[in-house]
């Protein structure tokens, strides 16, 4: 047992850090570190920068243009990116649809789709949830009926994050109604410019447009856009769940946020002294700090363990999201009543209008509200507990 990184891993960390110092644009760093409003341009520019370095896909094997890094190297990369203030890469293409295409897709699908994901030129969205199908995803009702060389897709997808920018969307659709729910589902790639696809915003509780409904009305999708075999889509979706063991723990981002929270707790005043001097507040910060350290170690234990993913992935999702939510909550509480003022314009870079109590408070409440989603998406934390009990209890 050895909790130290190897010399090679430390050298790798240094290389990543140096690259970030030299290549992460200041305006992007500022936007990320100050929690300002997200834009498509930020994500695309950063993806292109990484692509030019050969680091566009840290989780992909080399044969598809990925880095071929080990899981520990991927974690180091994510850590350094987050601590440097780099934006998150878009998961939908890189970490969700790409692994499915690589594993189950045709030669043509790989050639058509993987390069655009890698260089950031194609924006992917996810079409899983439906208004009536959340945790019970297999009950989905969006249909894809065959008409010659086409599927005709009808239905509605929802919670489509950043779907307003989407070029393509990967969907789970029902291709067979006569079999068990899980057995009649196919994994379909849909060009969002196809007539009949309609994206409508859902305004979230922070007042921001991040999520969408996507409507499909007689959308013609070529049959060759079905990944793998028809009616086997549920298997592919499940493969994806097992593929990501530690991504949802989000340790790098939480470490960056913990660092920022400690700075904020030094800056924000509490009756003439910094709020960090207030033991009642600081104890909660220390509690969270310890929990984050435990999370990071648990991630490393899972990553370096060769056994197949078990209930650990669910443990990491639960703990990662709980810790993340606490971080946003404490950040809000550190800024106190200053967060009451809702000034949407203050989330734009270069804003020089009035604030209440400075910039720390401006994104804090909205972020806190928004981040309640963490314990809901990606399989709610209650569903994760079902998974743990199923895998541990063997029920």
């Amino acid at each position: 047992m050895d909790l130290n990184y190897t010399t090679e891993q430390e050298a790798f960390r240094k290389e990543v850090r140096q690259f970030l110092q030299e290549n992460l644009p200041d305006d992007i760093r500022e936007r990320v570190q100050k929690h300002l409003r997200f834009t498509k341009d930020v994500t695309v520019r950063w993806q292109q920068t990484l692509y030019k370095q050969g680091w566009g896909a840290s989780t992909w094997p080399k044969e598809f243009g990925g880095t071929g890094w080990t899981e520990v190297e991927q974690l180091i990369f994510e850590d350094e990116c987050a601590l440097a203030g780099a934006p998150r890469q878009l998961d939908f293409g890189l970490r969700m649809v790409a692994p499915v295409i690589m594993k189950f897709g045709s030669r043509e699908q790989k050639d058509q789709h993987l390069p655009g994901i890698l260089d950031g030129s194609v924006w992917w969205s996810q079409g899983y949830s439906e208004p009536g199908s959340g945790s019970d995803l297999a009950s989905l009702r969006t249909t894809a009926g065959r008409d010659g060389d086409y599927y005709i897709v009808n239905g509605q997808k929802t919670w489509t994050t950043l779907g307003q920018h989407g070029d393509w969307i990967f969907c789970l659709v029902r291709t067979n109604k006569d079999v068990k729910a899980q057995e009649g589902i196919s994994f379909l790639l849909v060009d969002m410019k196809t007539p009949g696809v309609d994206v409508k915003p859902i305004i979230m509780l922070d007042g921001e447009h991040e999520i969408n409904d996507v409507f499909f009305e007689n959308v013609k999708v070529p049959v060759e856009n079905c990944v793998g075999e028809e009616d086997k889509g549920w298997t592919y979706a499940k493969y994806l769940l097992g593929h990501e063991r530690t991504g949802l723990a989000n340790v790098g981002q939480w470490k960056a946020m913990m660092r920022r929270l400690k700075e904020i707790a030094r800056e924000e005043q509490d009756d003439g002294q910094a709020i960090i001097e207030n033991a009642r507040f600081r104890d909660r910060l220390a509690q969270l700090d310890a929990e984050l350290r435990a999370l990071e170690l648990t991630v490393l234990r899972v990553l370096t363990n060769v056994t197949a993913p078990g209930p650990e992935a669910s443990v990491l999702k639960i703990r990662g999201t709980e810790i993340g939510q606490r971080l946003f909550e404490l950040t809000m509480e550190a800024t106190g009543q200053n967060v009451m003022a809702h000034i949407p314009d203050a989330l734009e870079p270069g804003y020089d209008g009035p604030t209440v109590g400075g910039m720390n408070a401006m994104p804090a409440a909205g972020d806190y509200f928004n981040m309640r989603k963490l314990s809901i998406f990606g399989g709610s934390n209650e569903i994760q507990r079902n998974i743990i009990s199923k895998l541990v209890l063997g029920l």
Binding site: R282, A294, T298, N305
Partner: protein, 382 residues
């Protein structure tokens, strides 16, 4: 970065667990506890034969040169079986102190004797009113020529009644609560003026109150330097906290396993109660605590021997904090899921619960270590 055990560690862990499963049964354990002796000759000798009593001692003193991870493996196995032998007191606390701070002559006299199973020891460091503060020492050692005369009293002396020798922290200088001015003394348990009152603990271990009245010892009884015993004392206690964290992880796993088994056996409303989602989620949370606790026990073991005081203290406090909380949660949940049976003496879960509860209270409870971690955080961000 790897979390694998070496082949030797794996073999050791397997054989220790097999031994405990065969020899340290619920019945045997109850008999040992009932005997009131606090240690069983056959078990203790078997541990000696396995080399465990000298595991972390240097080879020149009949040891095996093991590290904090080795201690973790032993203690985790003890935790699974709720072993009540004076291992922590003798080997980790007192033995560790002698190993790290003793003179060559002291090591020669003590470590091989511990290794062979002949000598049991205890550390008397805590005092009434001081709670968990090791530097709040009112016990006095006054120099008298070349000798010292000790007066005072000590509490929470784990396995003090089973010890042949005690290590006592006493004040030779400084203020009542200062870290400087503390000296460590080694004395025979049966020396004139030492009174040891031995008590059973709720969880089957033994504890003692020790009073010292005009106890005379020579300068050769001093471990380490005069007035500067605190760093070694603190480090030995940190190593013991790491060991206790590992023990807790073993006990937590045992609680989770026995609870899982019980809920799959116990039927109500015509089905095993493990079918109920409310219970399943509670067990999922117990599993999460087990994972988190294990990560922190590894962290504590990794830092236990570190001479970087700040980093060690922070890691140890963070570990004890989360494991203390985890021990409480898992202990309470385990009993709850056993229903009425959980509060009876015949159930394994009840015994695990009692041990987990007391582990949280030993060497600083969760609140105490949260305070320590919190102060460390303030110092680091200053």
């Amino acid at each position: 970065m790897n979390f694998e055990l070496t082949e030797e560690q794996q073999i050791l862990q397997d054989s220790l667990r097999r031994f405990l499963a065969n020899e340290y049964t619920f019945k045997k354990r109850s008999e040992i506890i009932e005997s009131g002796k606090g240690s069983d000759e056959s078990i203790w000798n078997a541990l000696a034969e396995m080399g465990l009593l000298a595991f972390t001692f240097p080879e020149e003193y009949d040891g095996l040169g093991g590290n904090g991870i080795d201690t973790m493996l032993v203690m985790e196995s003890f935790g699974r079986a709720l072993v009540t032998e004076p291992y922590l007191a003798t080997v980790v606390l007192a033995g560790g102190l002698v190993r790290d701070a003793g003179s060559d002559a002291q090591k020669q006299a003590i470590l091989p004797a511990i290794a062979s199973g002949q000598k049991r020891m205890a550390l008397a460091a805590y005092e009434h009113g001081a709670r968990y503060n090791l530097s709040n020492v009112k016990t006095e050692a006054k120099s008298e020529g070349s000798n010292y005369v000790l007066n005072g009293s000590k509490t929470a002396v784990i396995h003090g009644g089973q010890a042949n020798q005690l290590i006592i922290s006493a004040r030779t200088g400084g203020d009542a609560r200062s870290e400087s001015g503390i000296t460590l003394f080694l004395l025979d348990a049966d020396i004139n003026g030492v009174v040891i009152r031995d008590f059973a603990t709720h969880d089957g271990f033994r504890t003692a109150e020790v009073t010292l009245k005009d106890v005379k010892v020579g300068a050769d009884a001093i471990i380490g330097e005069v007035d500067n015993g605190f760093p070694a004392l603190e480090k030995a206690v940190d190593q013991s906290i790491a060991a206790l964290c590992a023990e807790a992880v073993g006990a937590i796993d045992a609680m989770n396993e026995t609870t899982l088994e019980y809920t799959q056996t116990r039927k109500q409303f015509g089905v095993p109660i493990s079918k109920f989602q409310v219970l399943q989620h509670r067990m999922a949370d117990m599993f999460i605590h087990a994972q988190q606790s294990r990560s922190m026990a590894i962290l504590a073991a990794d830092y236990a021997n570190s001479d970087n005081r700040e980093a060690r203290r922070e890691a140890i406090s963070q570990a004890k904090l989360l494991i203390g909380q985890g021990a409480r949660e898992v202990g309470q949940a385990g009993v709850q899921l056993h229903g009425g049976m959980g509060v009876t003496d015949e159930m394994w879960a009840a015994h695990i619960f009692k041990r987990l509860t007391l582990i949280n209270l030993m060497f600083g409870d969760a609140d105490y270590h949260l305070g320590k971690a919190s102060d460390a955080l303030l110092a680091k961000t200053a």
